[in-house]
Amino acid sequence: MLNSILFAITITLMYSAPLVFAALGGVISEKSGVTNIGIEGMMSIGAFVGASVGYYTGNAWSGLICAGLSGGVLALLHAIASVTFQADQTVSGIAINLIGSGLSMFLSRLFFNGATTTLPVPQKLPKIFGFLGEKYDFINCINLDITVLLSLLAVMFTWFVMYKTKWGLRIRALGEHPAAVDSVGVSVYRARYICVILSGILAGIGGASVTLAIISQFTPTAISGQGFIALAAVIFGKWKPMGAYCACLFFGFAQALVIMLGGGNNAIPTDILAMLPYVMTIIVLMLFVGRSSAPKAAGKPYKKGSR
């Protein structure tokens, strides 16, 4: 009994880690006033780059870093479109999603002999008690992916920056009233660029923590909706790092349920079961979307001197 509870917790944490990174990215971007629905695409490219760099270098860490960078580059495109050229942020985000998944598939075919699946990485990211080996049964049960720990650290770090530092104060103001930030002599454009790129880096890392920790390679379905679930978590978590974290745990639990209930000779077909996380996302969105308070200026391009 204890073991199966621990198992449930472990799986929940494992599946929520990628969501947490991505949702944090969403929080940062939205707080600065830029809607980023391109998270899914940024996760895809991160998942692919992470897995393939991990495969070629044999080092999962360099895979993770490159994944972050690739997400950042994609985010830069989003920033250019939505901050500099004041394009519609939803349209730009959709474009980013298409580019992200298309590009990662295309590159996969290019580098892996026409396969849309990369070869498995020689070594995944370590587990937190990995150094103890696999001797103890109990430890194996609570031996979490390092990404779980990293994601929690990222949450705390983001919370700290957001609510304790001057940069956080400015970011939060940006999403509420960019003209106010501009009028006190802080560049709205630069700050938004930084936030959007950061959100891409986090999303990229989130993608790679699927392909470098949960599974060990990139597959076309490795990223299938996690980016959108993460966005739902941003809303469910009221645009707060801690809130988003809890929401991600909830969605992670939904994914864990799929796995736990899916095994054995169950009455519920697995195909129906697999819908669970998505159905839960929709339900949560229906219940919460109107009621929680989004940053006022999110999604609106800022034009200097307009009124």
């Binding site: 530092t165 939060r172 009233h177 930030v181 006190v184 002599g185």
Partner: protein, 514 residues
């Protein structure tokens, strides 16, 4: 033209600025002596805000020079302007309303320890010192959205002073204030200049200019007209210089000749959004050809009353009748259909859609009706015809603005469009709430004339204003609202300012005030 000298806090020369093909400022100059209050006067859309935004580094001018304390400066952005000691309180406040006062004040200029951690203690002390020095009382821990407009303005002033501003630009600071708050502001401005600061104030209220400023620069349609000493001028001469023609500051009225009653309120009870009853058994009636002025200090239930009249708020009990028909608790659309039109105090919230064009805003209430709509299709030709009619009739500037976003018009011109649109409805009853807020004297004269004309066409008008002068000038009957009910009704001329002020403060009519 005066020489460039250290005695002047600001000197601007040959400032020119165009938005697209439209020249907003044309070779404008400005000289502001150090340690004085300098007023800028000009019609709506004359370019006052634009000129100040250039000085504050928000816009860049197409040509021209700016000298601060006798030295040529290039204010390429607000950061530079702030560093040069310029602070600005904008016409629309630049405050984050989810933040506390202190957060708003330090934003962009935070005192921090290691890792960029904000330390509010030092900033707090600094702000407190400023508060004490100039009497700018405000609670630093409250959220801005919980503050009154007057308090929010203080936060803006504090923000500028906290950044070390020596020159303070106030863009129409009094348009949104109650008379008492205005008194306060003038006192604060006095203590600021006494301390060596310089203030530039934009206002349409000539009385305030007379009361506070030493000098005044007049701009008309983007051109510099004159710089005058305020003490040499009267309100009348100032108005004339500004508009370029004689202005009647007080309107002529034909004799009062009321018809039968069209509108009545009986024993109305309404609660505000927090569930507290703020309209407490109010009764009122208006006849054809009558302007009823409702005087009162803000917060005595006016807001809820207006919302209830327009069916934007639930009425607990009582009745509202127009032409005998009960309209309470129906729908805003029904109210409109029954012939009630309204000019709202907060036009951005209720009157217009900022991101629609002028023409679209012009038919906002009529888009479903012929001739603007035929079998479900909008008729642009009719719409534009109607818009152009409003533009020429109400002198909305610029002339060819029908396809511009209304956001790009100056505040005064937005208001003119709203007023024109509502009056074009030919309502049985027009509810005018602060109809001249933010308007220049020329436009005020026009609006007042329009209201009187409407009255002479045998329509009823309910005028709700915080400005007693306006109520006294226009109304045939004056009702005083206090604590959610009517605290006295007069015929025009029966009572003077003191009597009304006494009732506004809650005094009883038969009580003697001495």
């Amino acid at each position: 033209m005066v020489e460039i000298s250290k005695k002047y806090a600001v000197q601007m020369r040959g400032i020119t600025k165009s938005f697209g093909t439209f020249k907003v400022l044309d070779d404008v100059e400005l000289d502001v002596k150090k340690g004085t209050i300098h007023a800028i006067l000009g019609e709506n859309g004359a370019g006052k805000s634009t000129l100040m935004n250039i000085l504050y580094g928000l816009y860049s001018s197409d040509s021209g020079e700016i000298y601060l304390n006798g030295k040529l400066q290039f204010l390429k952005n607000t950061a530079v302007a702030i560093k040069s000691g310029i602070g600005m309180v904008h016409q629309h406040f630049m405050l984050v309303d989810k933040f506390t006062v202190i957060q708003n004040i330090v934003l962009g200029n935070e005192t921090t320890g290691r890792f960029g951690i904000i330390k509010t203690r030092e900033s707090r002390e600094k702000v407190k010192e400023i508060i004490d020095r100039y009497g700018l009382n405000v609670d630093l821990n409250r959220k801005v959205r919980d503050l009154s407009v007057g308090q929010q303005q203080r936060v803006e002033i504090l923000k500028a002073l906290y950044r070390g501003a020596d020159l303070l630009i106030l863009d129409e600071p009094t348009a949104v204030l109650t008379p008492m708050e205005i008194e306060d502001l003038i006192r604060i401005m006095g203590s600021l200049v006494a301390d060596g600061k310089t203030i530039i104030i934009i206002t349409h209220k000539l009385k305030e200019i007379k009361k506070s400023a030493q000098e005044c620069t007049i701009i008309r349609r983007g051109k510099f007209i004159d710089r005058v000493k305020v003490e040499d001028e009267t309100e009348k001469t100032l108005a004339k210089k500004m508009v370029g023609r004689e202005i009647k500051l007080k309107v002529d009225k034909t004799p009062f000749n009321p018809g039968e009653e069209v509108f009545s309120i009986k024993n109305l009870h309404v609660r505000c959004c927090r569930g507290i009853e703020t309209v407490k058994g109010l009764s009122l009636s208006i006849r054809r050809g009558e302007i009823l002025g409702l005087a009162g200090i803000e917060g005595n239930g006016q807001k809820e009353l207006i919302e209830a009249l327009l069916c934007a708020r639930h009425v607990d009990s009582g009745e509202i009748r127009i032409n005998g028909e009960e309209i309470q608790n129906t729908s805003p659309g029904n109210v409109l259909k029954c012939g009630v039109s309204a000019i709202h105090a907060d036009r951005h919230k209720y009157g217009i859609v900022l991101d629609f064009s002028v023409a679209e805003n012009a038919i906002l209430e009529k888009y479903r009706d012929k001739p603007y709509c035929e079998r479900g299709f909008l008729n642009y030709k009719e719409r534009d015809k109607f818009t152009n009619k409003l533009i020429s009739e109400y002198d909305i500037r610029p002339k060819d603005c029908k396809d511009l976003l209304i956001r790009e018009l100056s505040g005064g011109n937005q208001q003119k469009l709203v007023i024109g649109r509502e009056i074009a409805n030919e309502p049985e009853l027009l509810i005018a709430v602060q109809p001249t807020r933010g308007l220049d004297v020329g436009a005020i004269e026009y609006v007042h004339k329009t209201l009187i004309n409407l009255r002479d066409k045998n329509k009823a008008i309910l005028l709700i204003s915080l400005e007693l002068d306006e109520i006294m000038d226009l109304s045939d009957t004056i009702a005083v609202m206090y604590d959610g009910a009517i605290n006295g009704v007069f015929k025009s001329g029966e009572a003077d300012e003191n009597d009304i002020g006494f009732l506004m403060a809650g005094g009883q009519e038969n009580e003697q005030c001495c």
